[in-house]
């Protein structure tokens, strides 16, 4: 079958993170419904039962309408997506506000015990490889899968713990926005019964237009390539 041959093309790198004991305890009573049901509740909220509304991704239609007051994004710009996020200071944050600067983007969750800390360490290493001027222009963005536990306070705590400077933006979003962003990046993720997440290990570099110029898969190596991709965006 066609689908089976397609399958072999899929080479994704995942980590099923080790749950922290506190996480496991917090989720214990959620029992078997922790996964899709929890999601469902969240994703159902914005869908009104009676009034049809335009899809969120239709609302910003800058490309085809030259008269539009909204800025025209390029056809491959991730900033066409209008997911809603909140940063770790509690302010609402539009991804499109990143336009004009290269971005290193990673999806994670704060209670992750294995892959996410390693990836953040790698991102810090990339940041360290940049010149002072490059560093001042590059933004590092972490977006959480964990819509429940990664509150703005939890993200702020994570920033402090990891010593992330002002070039870092830590975001949380609603279920729809997080799933759509993951889909745009090609990130797969799945919540486990204990509340932790299995997810792709995928670091994405966006140019100043919000187009994907490079992705690092897995947890090993690739820092030089990522740094080079970033440097080429800064030229």
């Amino acid at each position: 079958m066609k689908t089976l041959s397609l399958l072999t093309l899929t080479t994704l790198f995942f980590c099923i993170s080790l749950p922290l004991s506190s996480v496991a305890m917090a989720k214990e009573d959620a029992g078997t419904t922790a996964g899709p049901i929890a999601e469902k509740d969240a994703c159902c909220k914005p869908a009104p039962v009676v009034t049809p509304k335009p899809p969120a991704c239709c609302a910003a239609t800058p490309i085809q309408n030259p008269q539009s007051q909204i800025e025209n994004f390029t056809r491959s710009s991730l900033y066409q997506s209008d997911g809603t996020f909140t940063d770790d200071s509690g302010k609402s944050f539009a991804l499109s506000s990143l336009r004009g600067r290269p971005v290193v983007l990673n999806m994670f969750f704060a209670s992750c015990g294995y892959a996410c800390p390693l990836t953040v360490t790698d991102l810090l290493s990339i940041q360290g490889r940049l010149s002072a001027e490059q560093r001042s222009k590059t933004i590092f963005v972490l977006v959480s899968f964990d819509v429940t536990r990664d509150t703005t306070a939890a993200l702020a705590q994570y920033r402090a713990q990891r010593g992330l400077d002002a070039q870092w933006i830590l975001l949380r979003g609603d279920n729809d926005s997080v799933r759509e962003l993951a889909a745009l990046l090609g990130v797969k993720f799945k919540q486990e019964a204990d509340g932790s997440f299995a997810h792709s290990n995928l670091v994405t570099i966006l140019n100043s237009e919000g187009e994907i110029v490079h992705q690092r898969t897995g947890l090993q190596g690739g820092l030089a390539e990522a740094t080079a991709a970033l440097a080429s965006c800064l030229k």
């Binding site: 995942f14 869908a47 509304k53 239609t61």
Partner: protein
């Protein structure tokens, strides 16, 4: 048929008893769902074109030791039929950015609605009442939101699709198995059949099997790396904790096919046999 009044009372009791013994078991399994159906119908009318699915249980095909053995699916509404070309035409007419020539490659690949004649013209290859195909996850999701609905979750879709024609447990429905495997063995026809040709399943949902594959909202939870039949454990190099991932039922070949398809898709992909239907939370 013999009028009931002409049957002696004693025989009537006997017949009732026989009926209970013979047909009792058949109704025993679905009876909780049937009672849920009727009680919920009385309080909240089911919108036209949708079917109320009772609360139930979905047993994931593949899971790690940390995953729940089963997932409780709350009662929900599901479209009776897949979305048709005519319905999708109304959507792209109202939302020009989703028209074939205008859609961003980020949201749909180059074969998006390729079987249509033009942006707003269906043509011979896309009959009005055939299911819409060559739509991306983004497009399907946008359509669903436009109608005030959403895409079903994997657990919901699989729960609905686990029913046979006459019973909640489709695995023991031989006719369904025959139809399903016959469909899997056939190449996709260049022009798809009218959705009205699809048979109703136990819950009244039509065309979940045998017409097209369908998008689910959380398709990107499916993680498979290898050839699906051998993939009882995920590759150790690529997944932490891979040794603990196992499949519950390796006989459910069609479910493996669906899992394989979902795991192979990107959200902007479109194919000649992939469409969708919408779901909705139960109104209060």
């Amino acid at each position: 048929m013999l009028p009931l009044r002409q049957i002696p009372p004693s025989l009537r009791t006997l017949l009732a008893f026989v009926g209970l013994v013979f047909f009792g078991p058949a109704f025993a399994a679905p009876s909780p769902s049937l009672s849920t159906l009727s009680s919920q119908r009385s309080t909240s009318p089911v919108p036209a074109g949708m079917v109320l699915l009772p609360a139930g249980i979905y047993v994931p095909l593949q899971r790690t030791l940390k995953d729940a053995a089963q997932i409780n699916v709350a009662a929900f509404l599901l479209d009776e039929l897949p979305v048709t070309n005519a319905e999708f035409l109304a959507f792209v007419t109202a939302n020009p950015k989703w028209q074939r020539s205008k859609v961003s490659p980020l949201f749909a690949d180059s074969s998006y609605l390729e079987n249509w004649t033009d942006d707003l013209l269906l043509g011979d290859q896309a009959p009005e009442h055939a299911p819409v195909i060559r739509v991306s996850w983004f497009a399907a999701r946008a359509y669903a939101r436009w109608t005030g609905k959403r895409l079903p979750l994997t657990a919901e879709w699989e729960f609905a699709a686990s029913a046979g024609y006459t019973r909640a447990d489709g695995k023991n429905d031989e006719q369904l198995s025959r139809d399903l495997y016959a469909w899997l063995a056939r190449p996709v026809p260049p022009i798809l059949a009218d959705v009205a040709t699809a048979k109703k399943n136990f819950y009244g949902v039509r065309g979940l099997h045998g017409l097209i594959w369908e998008w689910v909202d959380d398709f990107n939870t499916a993680m498979v790396t290898g050839e699906s039949r051998a993939d009882s454990g995920l590759e150790r190099d690529l997944f932490c904790g891979a040794g603990s991932v196992g499949a519950k039922d390796t006989t459910d070949y069609a479910a493996f096919m669906r899992q394989a398809l979902r795991s192979s898709l990107k959200a902007n992909n479109t194919t000649s046999s992939l469409g969708f239907r919408c779901a909705q939370v139960l109104p209060e």
